[in-house]
């Protein structure tokens, strides 16, 4: 496992997310309304759509294609058509940078 520099803290608006690609995989990094940062796999578990174009509403991320919703803090699938939880990844803020732990 290693901490990977993903983005600056100012690169993501509050209550929003960005896409982060690393090592052939894609991830989503979230800036929650309370100022904390979170990370999950970047593709919806339903039809492999990039979540980065979706809408963050409080603690949930909505898939931009089919309205499937996840709690990005827990990864829990909340609404059909998603049935499989989203994998989370640890995140930390170092200075003004956001790092994601990947293995």
């Amino acid at each position: 496992m290693a901490w990977i520099d993903a983005c600056g803290v100012d690169d993501i608006d509050a209550e929003d997310l960005i896409r982060f690609d690393h090592g052939g995989a894609t991830y989503a990094i979230y800036h929650a309304p309370d100022g904390t940062f979170h990370a999950t796999d970047g593709l919806c578990t339903h039809e492999q759509v990039h979540l980065c174009n979706g809408l963050v509403d409080g603690d949930t991320i909505e898939c931009p294609k089919h309205n499937g919703r996840f709690n990005y803090r827990t990864g829990a699938a909340l609404r059909a058509p998603v049935c499989i939880d989203l994998k989370r990844h640890p995140v930390r803020v170092v200075g003004d940078r956001v790092e994601i732990e990947l293995g």
């Binding site: 039809e47 759509v49 809408l55 898939c63 931009p64 089919h66 309205n67 058509p81 049935c83």
Partner: protein, 366 residues
Amino acid sequence: MSIFTRIYAPRDYSLTGASRAHAEEIGLASAEWYHSDVPRKEMKALMQRSDGPAIRDTVIWLGLLVLTGIGGCYFWGTWACVPFFFVYGLLYGSACDSRWHEAGHGTAFKTPWMNDVVYQIASFMVMRNPTTWRWSHARHHTNTIIVGLDPEIGFMRPPRIVMAALNFIGIPFIFYDLRTLARHAFVGLNEGEKTYIPESERYKAVFWARLHIAIYVATILLAIGLHSWLPLMLIGGPRIYGCWHMYMTGLIQHGGLAEDVVDHRLNSRTVYMNPVSRWLYWNMNYHVEHHMFPMVPYHALPRLHEAIKHDLPAPNPSIYAAYVEMTRALLRQRKDPTHYARKALPATARPYRDEFHEIEVAREGV
């Protein structure tokens, strides 16, 4: 050649056959789709949900349904009931489709349970199993008009134009829909449906199908008991006599356009319409925009259209114009399975993504 004649073998539109395997083999199933550029802040604003517009429209919709239903019953047996049932049928048999659609996307209301309630009511009205159709529509958006993957392709090639025209009077498709509900209730899902509905959801399809069938049986028994068609004029019947507007607007969504492309500008059609049709249809006339960004609510689609129209082909100026374009293309598709209505893009637009269609054209030529 008459419009009844087929001069080439139908393509395989099944979800378990050779077309599906081919789409997966050439990468069409997993390709990334074209999207017009919209600044992130603007797109977030467009995707914002609100209960207000849909509550207003739903109160008007259901209120008019009750009023016209009462009027139709009051004047039943006289010619005066006709205008009441004309409006009742339109609200029941046509507006149900757009309410089913928007609530199914979860974009009509901000509050999830409101979407769910309207979705269930509208699913019953439009005679669709709410479970199977929720999943089929998700697949339709993932693989729009991809042969072998999209379960909601309206015109299969060679197109059956007379059968499509019969849609306007609900026949024979009401029988097909009822047969499908009965199959779900008493037999189960078919192999094609199992490709897009997870096992954990299938019991719901059986439950809803049985409930819908029970309501229809009760309505028929009531009609027999009363020796009157009136119960069927109110429940189920509008799916025949009131569905014409649903098909008038629905057939032009994708009819005569491209198969096997990853660019909604090539396989979907935006049509300018009168305000009444737009209200009944909840702005789905902006169909390219809807497919490109399906999480934008119906009430924000006109704004989305303004934001990206520089990147889209010119909309058809009317329903009539859309039918002229579609019918010409369908007639030509009777002879040429690779033909589709391809519109010119404005100079401000980025080029079409039609590389997979070109593979299909080359394949047809072999």
